[in-house]
């Protein structure tokens, strides 16, 4: 864990700079602990980092880093409930725009694509791009599919999407270049948190 100065009132905590479940576990554990720290204004956890925004009137970088480290040490000796919750996303794969494309790209049948997509349990590696847009990984390598060459101007909200080795749900209508492989009525996007587990269920 290293601390880097970003701006007068923010620092970024770096974990090993790689995308893996081991690192994600560390990010999640640290994020859940720091959430309780009152002197922090905002936390932006992502794949292998946490951006910390603090009150410049109460802290400088040195004192903030010290407080974070002391707090994490204190938390480390207490038993923690960091078991990721499992969220199930009922998905209608009939309502897709690109299942055929994904199947052809990977030389699979549409049913095989759906089975591979529902088989894995994903983790929330980051939330961003728009309110509640969770980057879920890791998609089975057999259905890894690049983005569309030309992004669509409008993707309807609730679209279940796939790009490279990640999958996601569009919480709002938006432009975007991901492959649309299904649709869900799920709307509780504010309940998603870094590290949570997500599984898609065919309906």
């Amino acid at each position: 864990m290293t601390f880097n100065i970003v701006s007068v009132n923010s620092l970024i905590i770096y974990f090993e700079q790689e995308i893996s479940e081991t690192i994600l576990d560390k990010v999640q554990k640290t994020y859940l602990a720091l959430k309780e720290l009152k002197s922090i204004i905002d936390l932006t956890p992502s794949y292998c980092s946490i951006l910390v925004h603090f009150d410049i009137l109460k802290h400088n970088h040195e004192s903030m880093e010290k407080e974070i480290k002391a707090y994490l040490n204190k938390k480390a000796i207490l038993p923690q409930n960091t078991k990721a919750k499992l969220i199930t996303i009922p998905t209608d794969y009939e309502k897709n725009l690109d299942l055929k494309r994904v199947a052809e790209h990977n030389k699979l049948t549409i049913d095989e694509v759906i089975n591979l997509h529902t088989e894995n349990t994903y983790r929330v590696y980051a939330i961003g791009f728009m309110l509640g847009f969770a980057y879920l990984g890791t998609v089975h390598e057999k259905i890894n599919t690049p983005r569309l060459a030309t992004p669509r101007k409008k993707i309807p909200k609730g679209s279940v999407a796939l790009a490279d080795n990640q999958t996601a749900i569009y919480p709002q209508n938006s432009a975007g270049g991901w492959n649309i492989i299904g649709h869900t009525e799920f709307t509780d996007f504010h309940t998603l948190s870094i590290g949570d587990k997500v599984q898609f269920e065919r309906i």
Partner: protein, 301 residues
């Protein structure tokens, strides 16, 4: 329930406060007043404690339906009451039937119009800040009613001259060098700090795309991570992007540094085509300048 009636919405006027904190983990952007300096003065003149204000852009026209004291700070948009020019960076008492208008841009981009005790609105995620893409807050539309409580209290306050900025002065943006500096060679960094950059049309509340000497990072992308206010991202085309109040919460372009927030406030008053330069500042001075900035608003007028 009455207040202002919007006669003409103008270019793009929104309700704002100091921004939305505490929800970046859900991907919710900061938003809030683009120019906190002018916003905080408009609040201070009325003794409002970060209630809210209209971030006014040119063309807005309002009818007063309830008497109150207002303050206008920021851009000179030829502010008028009933067609008569009025001074800004000060308060005015307005009465039922008065028409407030901002017909023409003279200097700056955004003015802040506050009313005594703020507008009566519902907060979303603890803030009044407007972010269109998140469907949060209020963008003013013709015939909207903006409600506030009536007051007969005539506040007469103005910002002392020495605190009124001159938006025509050239702007040098002070930059804290980045922890990602190793993605930029010495030569590339020198180019960045020795060139003029022009503000392009691709600029809005989210950020400003600049045009000038290309800076080549030696890495096209990094693993997406949280982005601070004022971060300067450099995508593969080498043209820097200064990220402002409605920036995306995470992103994967290398960053050459972070512009001081207080300089970003001033930057948001510039127009497309205006030029800026960058200069380095060390953490200690950056911290002091920021603390000095906010201490102004703690003092009595």
């Amino acid at each position: 329930m009455k207040g202002f009636k919007v006669l003409n919405a103008g270019l793009f006027s929104t309700l704002q406060d100091q921004g939305r904190d505490g929800y970046k983990h859900l991907g919710i952007t900061q938003s809030g007043a683009m120019d906190e300096y002018a916003y905080l003065w408009s609040q201070k003149l009325l003794s409002n404690q970060n209630t809210n204000a209209i971030e006014v852009m040119v063309g807005l026209k309002l009818q007063v339906e309830v008497a109150t004291s207002i303050s206008v700070c920021g851009a000179d948009l030829s502010f008028q009451i009933n067609g008569l020019s009025k001074a800004i960076w000060q308060t005015h008492f307005v009465e039922v039937g008065d028409v407030l208008s901002f017909p023409k841009r003279v200097t700056g981009q955004r003015a802040y119009l506050s009313v005594q005790n703020g507008f009566k609105l519902e907060k979303a995620y603890d803030s009044y800040a407007t972010t269109l893409k998140e469907d949060l807050g209020v963008k003013l539309q013709k015939n909207d009613n903006l409600i506030y409580e009536a007051t007969q209290k005539k506040v007469t306050k103005r910002v002392p001259n020495k605190y009124v900025p001159n938006y025509n002065e050239p702007l040098i943006l002070r930059v804290l060098p980045s922890y990602q500096n190793h993605y930029f060679s010495k030569e590339e960094q020198q180019k960045f700090f020795n060139s003029d950059y022009e503000i392009t049309l691709q600029s809005d509340r989210m950020g400003a795309k600049l045009k000038g000497e290309s800076i080549r990072p030696n890495k096209g992308g990094i693993i997406s991570e949280g982005i601070a206010f004022g971060s300067i991202q450099v995508p593969a085309d080498g043209q820097p992007v200064l990220l402002l109040k409605e920036r995306q919460t995470i992103g994967g372009y290398p960053k050459i540094g972070t512009v001081l927030a207080i300089d970003c406030f001033r930057f948001s008053q510039l127009a497309v085509g205006d030029k800026v330069r960058f200069e380095k500042i060390n953490l200690e001075s950056a911290r002091k300048k920021t603390l000095d900035f906010y201490s102004i608003f703690k003092r009595d007028l």
